[in-house]
């Protein structure tokens, strides 16, 4: 059963295009998706996923399960950075540990989307409010990460490391909150969610006209973006050699651990199979879209090649290729069909 799930996932178009990108780097092809085309697809995917999430949220309403699930998701985005920081701190300096912690507490929208496509192929339902959970998990993890760095940072640094132009460390927080909540991708995702909600509630006639753009194109655009992700992930893998086995191990084991916790919470919340998979994927995935830009500004002492390479070069492929079918297999064993 499990092996057939893995196979089913492996021969899906998005995963195959991801591998095609990886292969291009391995064999040395000059295939590339020049900038800003990847940005076009990432903006599109965020807009579309937000809009559809808002639409379905409007249909499902804000019942108690919805609120509990979102609350649990936000809680995970606060706890995962703390536990990750404690583990990482055993081998790493405070800045890199904090930046990695923020990344693993936050989420990967593309992993989430790939899981949704996987559920579609399996004909399993899931709910739109999971997108709201996704949208609300990015910012808290960033704030916790910066907070951990601030708490853990050596006393001397705490004085000298003040950002230029920051008055007595106070102004600094404005910048952290700015990066956490107004980051372009967070902003677009939440904004599109709200717009999807408003349009569905007040002007449903407009929905049909959005559908070809937000719905029909989605799967193909995901394939195209994953082709680029494959290229970038494979390039990143090279960097990772320098990072050493500890970080590579963390990048594989952390998603397993977080997914397991996510499975436990899903059971407690009584989520159906589809939502359980999405919840696990939210916990297990690490951010490489919203977090790097935020960390660059708020924790410039951390080395971007560490947090980008582990999140995008290891954890992302692991989740997309092995994780999603594996988590599904666990769900089929532990979560009853609703």
């Amino acid at each position: 059963m499990q092996s057939s799930l893995i196979l089913q996932n492996l021969v899906s178009a998005p995963v195959l295009f991801f591998f095609l990108g990886v292969l291009a780097v391995i064999v040395g092809s000059d295939l590339e998706i020049p900038s800003p085309l990847p940005k076009l697809f990432s903006l599109y995917l965020l807009l579309a996923i937000g809009f559809k999430g808002g639409l379905e949220l409007a249909h499902s309403g804000l019942g108690s399960q919805v609120l509990l699930t979102i609350g649990a998701a936000v809680l995970m985005s606060l706890l995962v950075p703390i536990s990750s920081f404690l583990i990482l701190r055993t081998r790493m300096d405070v800045y890199n540990a904090a930046a990695l912690a923020a990344s693993y507490g936050s989420i990967s929208a593309v992993t989430f989307i790939t899981a949704q496509s996987f559920l579609n192929v399996l004909h399993l339902d899931f709910d739109g409010f999971m997108v709201a959970a996704l949208a609300l998990m990015e910012s808290p993890a960033i704030v916790v990460g910066v907070l951990l760095a601030k708490l853990g940072m050596p006393a001397i640094d705490a004085h000298a490391g003040a950002q230029p132009g920051a008055k007595a460390g106070g102004l600094r927080w404005r910048e952290v909150l700015q990066e956490a909540f107004l980051n372009g991708s967070v902003f677009l995702l939440i904004g599109s969610l709200v717009i999807g909600f408003l349009v569905t509630t007040f002007s449903p006639a407009g929905l049909v006209k959005m559908e070809p753009f937000t719905d029909k194109l989605f799967y193909g655009a995901l394939c195209f973006f994953l082709l680029d992700m494959g290229i970038v992930a494979a390039q990143r893998l090279r960097d990772l050699r320098r990072a050493g086995p500890f970080l590579i191990g963390f990048a594989v084991l952390a998603p397993l651990l977080h997914a397991a916790v996510g499975l436990g919470i899903s059971r407690l919340l009584g989520l159906n199979q589809g939502n359980s998979l999405l919840f696990m994927v939210l916990c297990a995935s690490a951010s490489y879209i919203a977090v790097p830009a935020a960390m660059r500004m708020t924790l410039p002492q951390a080395n971007p090649s560490l947090y980008i390479s582990s999140a995008l070069g290891v954890t992302f492929p692991f989740n997309v290729v092995v994780g999603i079918p594996l988590y599904m297999a666990l769900i089929q064993r532990f979560v009853p069909i609703s």
Partner: protein, 93 residues
């Protein structure tokens, strides 16, 4: 007249332009999408989709008298975020 060439991350380019404007330079030019290599390693455009960006090249032609103000404005930024700067001689066409 002096020519100043700055290389830094695109993320800080607005901060840098603000700083040099306040230092009194009469004008500047900015080239984005610059890749390269420096102390912080190789910088490519491949993370552009995340808003991380590549480097920017800022070019300023100004009076020698402004050099120290520009230097003072940039030093703290370069110390925190990285970036390099060079000067050479020039004259108006």
């Amino acid at each position: 007249m002096k020519r100043i060439d700055l290389f830094l991350s695109e993320r800080e380019v607005n901060k840098v332009c603000k700083a040099i404007s306040e230092a009194g330079v009469p004008g500047y030019s900015v080239i984005r999408h610059v890749t390269g290599k420096g102390l912080a390693g190789e910088i490519s455009e491949s993370m552009d989709f995340s808003g991380l960006g590549a480097n920017a090249h800022v070019i300023v032609f100004c009076d020698p008298g402004l050099l120290s103000a520009v230097r003072a404005a940039l030093r703290p930024l370069f110390e925190v975020y990285g970036g390099v700067g060079f000067i050479s001689e020039a004259e108006p066409l």
